[in-house]
Amino acid sequence: MIAYLVQRLAWALVLLVVTTLAVFVVVHLSGDPTALYVGPEGTRADYEMVRAALGFDRPLPDQYGRFLARAVRADFGRSLRHQQPTLPLVLERFPATLRLALAAMLLAMLLAVPLGILSALRRNSLLDSCAMTFALSGQCMPTFWLGILLILVFGVNLGWVPVYGGEGLRALALPAVTLGVWAMARTARITRSSMLEVLPQDFLRTARAKGISEWGVILRHGLRNGAIPIVTALGLELGNLLGGAVITEAVFAYPGIGRLAVEAVVNKDIPLLQAVVFTIATALILLNVAVDLLYMVLDPRVRLA
């Protein structure tokens, strides 16, 4: 088990390095990375200075080495627009996005999992069809579209939630719902198909034969086994949610890193964008490791392997 953990962490590290390579490549795709770092406002003098300081006048592998060295020191340059080091800016906003993603995921779990289970139990019933159609619709709507509609109905017309900003829970409500809809849809469908696979299986019949109530059977034995794909899906979902947050935050002016990323692109503030990308990549890689660990706990087969 320890060996497995070590192996996973090693791979996580490799992935991190590959991410830095990817970011490095993308920035160099533009042909002139110095211009990206200096920003549109820079003068010729700034240009030369940055070029020398960041080593862009050297051969590529050398540049990558220095880039990596800076990354290790958590130095991603200064944001062009904010004139401050980028990583602290990003880390400042990260918790807000995390809250949003977690809220969306919580909504997804609380609503979608029971819905999925019920649909699986009452397969092909009206409930099943309605629920699955609803879930499917959730996956087919562009997020920003939904967000704007929700602002209109709940923010302006009904006045239940603040249209933007606001404190704590109220600020989270609409963005979390908007972001959560996609996750809800997917989770509901996955729960349903996963339960459908598990329900007829033999060990459940044994449990029923032992006299455990139907609900006990479903929850303790069915869900426990069906949980694995659900957990994996939710783990992946967090990644999707962090991505979906980009658009959602733009619609609601939610002060998270998604919005920071969009502003960075729009203002051609590439250092800031790099920092955002790197932070998210790191977070996700760590998340994957966590999911793998959870997997190990839930599925004894993995533990023994």
């Binding site: 704007i148 302006v156 249209v163 933007y164 002016a253 729009v266 051609k268």
Partner: protein, 509 residues
Amino acid sequence: MPFAKRGPWGAVAVLVLLGLPGAAAQPKPVVVVQSGETATLDWHMHCDKNAHEPDRQIFDTLLRRDLKTLKLEGNLAESWRLLTDTTWQFKLRRGIKFHNGEPFDAAAVKFSVERMLNPAQGAPGRTSIASIDHVDVVDPYTVNVVTKTPFPLLPVRMSPGHCGTVGILPPKYVAQVGDAGFAVKPVGTGPYRLVEWVKDERLVLDANKDYHRGAPAIERLVFRPVPELTTRVAALLSGQADLVSDVPPDQVAKIKASGVARVEVSTLGGFVIMVKMTNYLMPGPWQDARVRKAINYAIDLDTIIKTVLEGYGQPLGVPLEKEAFGFNPAIKWWGYDPERAKALLREAGYANGFEMTLHAPNRRYMNDIEVMQAMAAMLGKVGIKATVQVWEQSVYTTKWRKRELLPAYMVAWGGAGVFDGDLLVNSLHSKSALAIHKNEALDKILEEAQGTNDPERRRALYFKAQEIIFEDAPIIKAYQQAHIFGISNRLDWKPWIDNMLFLYDARLK
């Protein structure tokens, strides 16, 4: 409120949500929603509307314009006069302090002007006051501003405007905190002082009780960046915001019908919007004056204003406001005549038309993208295949400064209470920051007008300049847009010049 309906627990919830400490005494602060975040609050170091809105409340200038007569009058200065052709003397008011207690005096004026002039400082508005050579302190309350050549517009530059006007900064404080510190914690002499700035969230200003013209009526102002336009208007309608500027025409009906907010329109000194063409920076048909005239003939500006701007605009000939000093009412700009456009194109040898790119900013001006698209379509009707290229704000500004927006781009100038033919220098003199067109005769006349303090002579020169512009057609039409504000019904405030927000006179109903 829905929560209150839930009985006693609902009431508790309401109290908690409102925040017990603040709920009792203060009225809700006035909230202004802006289109974006600002990078710096240092008056000298930006040309950004979103930064200017709070700065306008924090800082003061030596002079200001009377709201009704449009005449310049003293603000931090008591009076001013011309000593010689190149020296202006300002007598300063006494007893005024900066928000941190530092006294306002001649040293502050000298510091502020020279800081903005200093090339090393990199103030974007520097070119507007480049004629100033230096400032002499005569005594603690008298300064002489010495210019290199006669600078008739100096008083205007000492009154508040978007960019290129001199805000007064406290020299000791700036020396103490440095530029970087000042950018986030500015101190001025204005009616409001900075209390708190949480980037990307809120900027809070409290009334300056010791303001030299009396404390403002509104206790607290909050500026919040909300990038989505629909969200800004929604905030106004839901009561979360009190003021939204630059509302597009199609949102007007909604605001009027809401019952909680109203629409006020400022037509005075609105932005003068023009589409400039180059005649030397990019080779092409536009280098021929006949082609430029043909392009003008192809555009039906009246219809564009009536439809795309829904009437919230005025066609202009030369890019100068009608209230401006030196405006020549005799010039009737090229009208709408597609047949003549085609004839001129044939004459110039372009019977088969040609291609051109029109560069447009992204929501910088009212319905700018749609106006450019409408123009492109009209050009298409006379055989010119025009493509509209839209750029984000900051990218647009930079490309514009580097003169990369060729062969034609849309820009606005003026407003901010300049009201002077000198505007033509900024927009059409070949050495100005925005210029992509070169006409030596025009340059000479504009320089002459800048070099004399005699109003009659200046007026005559500006008239002539406008005739030259007419013949040369360096722009595709010009118009002046109105500025539409959405204001909540509890806020009593009237807009003044273009989209400037000066909230000193505002009060709650």
